[in-house]
């Protein structure tokens, strides 16, 4: 059968196998723009795939996007699929995305926690963590968004393996996290990282583990303000924004704090929309509206990164 993106239903939730098959479809449909690379293996030996959007060049400045590090946030992975397709479709059509991709690469990990995601489809729809076994405990999994080496072990993460925010035995103990760390540090030219979650309508930036404002606070805050305004212009969805610690609470060991402390200035985390009724069980009819409104905000950040080299 000929592979085609036109037969894929972006308005439906999909299993891990379906999404992984679709990655190949996207690559097949856009061979000169998109490639698939494997950056590692999950705890249960599933491949960790990243889509690379590149128009050429060597080790160009890059933007990292990830979705689905918390497996139960299904609208996040679904938004990732839609967004990756949009990136491919709009190159050569939309001047902004064309300009970005003519000078930068984009790396996109759509299912950042594949073991957890597969588990949400087979055994426990509300699973959040990885699936690694914890020595000495009957409780499984580590919160991969508390496992990064940025204030690791501090407040806002748990030392109990049974907690949903269990940080793990040591920083980067989870292969899902370590693989990203190795990739980004190995690349050496990643200028932005955007980690996408759901569901409380927020756009946040460092720090999460300490109350000290980030040195780039003002610029990050202004850019966040623009992004959420442009997001709201689509359907009127209102986001709050600010540093993680100001917006929600102290959270140690998070992705964006690690990225920022490792030289990625433009580090943001999204919390996608909340209809106020469904939480992680957002109906699939909400996928495309969610992705559609998120797109201009993502574009704002990516354009700003391109226009403010450092």
């Amino acid at each position: 059968l000929e592979r085609s993106a036109s037969t894929f239903d972006f308005a439906s939730y999909h299993t891990l196998d379906e999404i992984y098959d679709w990655l190949d479809t996207l690559v097949a449909n856009h061979p000169s723009l998109v490639s698939k690379i494997q950056i590692g293996e999950s705890y249960e030996k599933r491949p960790l795939y990243v889509l690379k959007f590149s128009t050429g060049g060597s080790n160009r400045p890059a933007i990292w996007l990830d979705t689905g590090i918390h497996s139960r946030e299904w609208v996040t992975q679904a938004t990732g699929v839609w967004t990756a397709n949009k990136l491919a479709e709009e190159y050569g059509r939309d001047p902004s995305i064309t300009s970005i991709l003519d000078s930068m690469d984009i790396f996109f990990e759509i299912v950042t926690n594949p073991d957890g995601y597969a588990f949400t489809h087979s055994s426990n729809r509300l699973w959040r963590k990885t699936r690694s076994i914890n020595a000495g405990s009957s409780c499984v999994g580590v919160d991969p968004n508390r496992n990064w080496d940025a204030g690791f072990g501090g407040a806002g993460s748990s030392s109990s393996p049974c907690s949903e925010t269990y940080r793990g035995p040591y920083a980067h103990s989870e292969s899902e996290v370590k693989s990203i760390v190795d990739f980004i540090l190995g690349h050496g030219n990643v200028k932005a990282l955007i980690s996408i979650h759901s569901y409380s309508q927020m756009l946040m930036f460092p720090y999460g583990y300490k109350r000290t404002p980030a040195p780039d606070y003002q610029e990050l805050n202004e850019l966040a303000k623009k992004a959420v305004n442009d997001l709201a212009a689509v359907y009127g969805t209102e986001y709050t924004y600010g540093s993680i610690v100001d917006t929600i609470y102290v959270a140690s060991g998070t992705t964006v704090d690690w990225a920022y402390e490792n030289g990625v200035k433009y580090s943001y985390t999204f919390e996608l929309r909340d209809t106020g009724r469904y939480g992680f069980l957002l109906p699939s009819t909400q996928i495309i509206p969610t992705a559609t409104e998120t797109w201009p905000a993502l574009l704002d950040i990516m354009l700003h990164v391109q226009q403010h080299p450092y």
Binding site: A11, S12, S123, R125, I248, Y278, G279, F280, L281, P283
Partner: protein, 93 residues
């Protein structure tokens, strides 16, 4: 497959820091097996609490006895999951 029959998600709004501390203490109670989908952060800002069916009565009594206001965001988690599964199967078809 784990089922969530009768589980509810409560939208809880703490009105002061003391109530937030009480909610955090609730999270520490391993016997209740509650799961904050959205953590308590600031007074007036809602948090969402997934409560397994066997703990519902105890959690509601706890909230009411401390004057913490709440509403039911999801009446029956399993019912929503069944609908989600049905929608996925229809989409595949």
């Amino acid at each position: 497959e784990q089922l969530f029959v009768g589980d509810q998600v409560l939208r809880v709004t703490a009105s002061n820091e003391e109530q937030i501390a009480l909610l955090r203490a609730l999270d520490e109670r391993e016997d209740l097996q509650v799961d904050f989908w959205r953590d308590p952060t600031k007074p007036g800002r809602p948090s969402d609490l997934h409560v397994p069916f066997p703990s519902l009565q105890a959690v509601k009594i706890f909230l009411e006895s401390h004057g913490i206001s709440y509403s039911i965001m999801i009446e029956d988690v399993q019912q929503l999951l069944d609908e989600e599964k049905k929608t996925m199967m229809l989409a595949r078809g």
